[in-house]
Symmetry: C2
Subunit: 217 residues, 2 copies
Amino acid sequence: MRIGVLGTGVVGRTLATKLVSLGHEVRMGSRQAGNEKAVEWTREAGAGASEGSFADAAELGELVINATAGAVAVDALRMAGADNLAGKVVIDVSNPLDFSRGMPPVLTVCNDDSVAERIQRELPDASVVKSLNTVNADVMVTPEVVPGDHTMFVAGNDADAKRQVTDLLESFGWPRERVLDLGDVTAARGMEMYLPLWLRLFGAAGTPRVNIHVVTG
Amino acid sequence: MRIGVLGTGVVGRTLATKLVSLGHEVRMGSRQAGNEKAVEWTREAGAGASEGSFADAAELGELVINATAGAVAVDALRMAGADNLAGKVVIDVSNPLDFSRGMPPVLTVCNDDSVAERIQRELPDASVVKSLNTVNADVMVTPEVVPGDHTMFVAGNDADAKRQVTDLLESFGWPRERVLDLGDVTAARGMEMYLPLWLRLFGAAGTPRVNIHVVTG
């Protein structure tokens, strides 16, 4: 399918590369068409890869992934354009981490709101699904680098959108039975507020290839 | 050993009962000696169980567990008395959940602070260890009700204190290799901010007997 990926950082490039390798037509979006990292990525990724503005990527994509930093995500989606995103699934993988005050980082939004909810409010005609933000970029697209069973979450208001995202996750290598639906988009609060714990797990494990497996009695 | 348990709720009573069953001398503390639930608990728990004020429990305990609600925990510890707690290990199992604004609940402290850090600042001569707050009361003292491997966290500034707490956790049934040290007391932020996710896991699983197993690549 045609997929727009907003953001040129490690997460955006990792996801975009995986999507191209799976045969999708992918446009990477950034603040201005011609972004150096995006152009470099199109050369590496080859056929099926293009780049442009946030709006260009949103317009092309039948599905759009927000891989911009959480603190600027709403701005990026606004630039992408509510009209370009109406009726589409928007996967929000961002985390609102602010390292500017040193370690441990703080979240720029949390507790009674989340980035995903802000995006959903900005784009009332899109179906926002929060997912993938709880693991490192390489684990997102290669879950088997963490051995054994471990869990991926989805949250959003639209059951059909969550099914589409689960299909995409399955194509990345996430077994369907390891994808846990946490409910409506307000569940994104918990998924984003998990990040301070994740950073400590990373520290304790000594590797960002760390995830959690949900176990039930 | 002699242990003070502050709080007469389900968590306090569950922990206190387990500790008595393990042969410890346990005093349950509340705002005022003679609290109805505490007195009832002493009758049920039998030999080794007593009750009194927060200060009475703190004075008796060689180790003290804070099982009051997170929103009132610092007040409770202040009433327990810094002098009574100097040089002692204080295990903070509280969560600052506020359900008064409906679902989902918000945290009364988070992001750049935590209940455990507030307690540590209130009690500079005590060694605060955050633990057990990430699971339901019955899982705290009977981890085997959740089958298979799953993780318990400890965080605090004093390595000796964390070793003592790990010994206690082992006596509850937590295998030593499943107890993960997340570092200093600021890691309590992540452990407390995990609660909104935990509440969603509870919802998705349909049971509070749910926990996470940390998996590393």
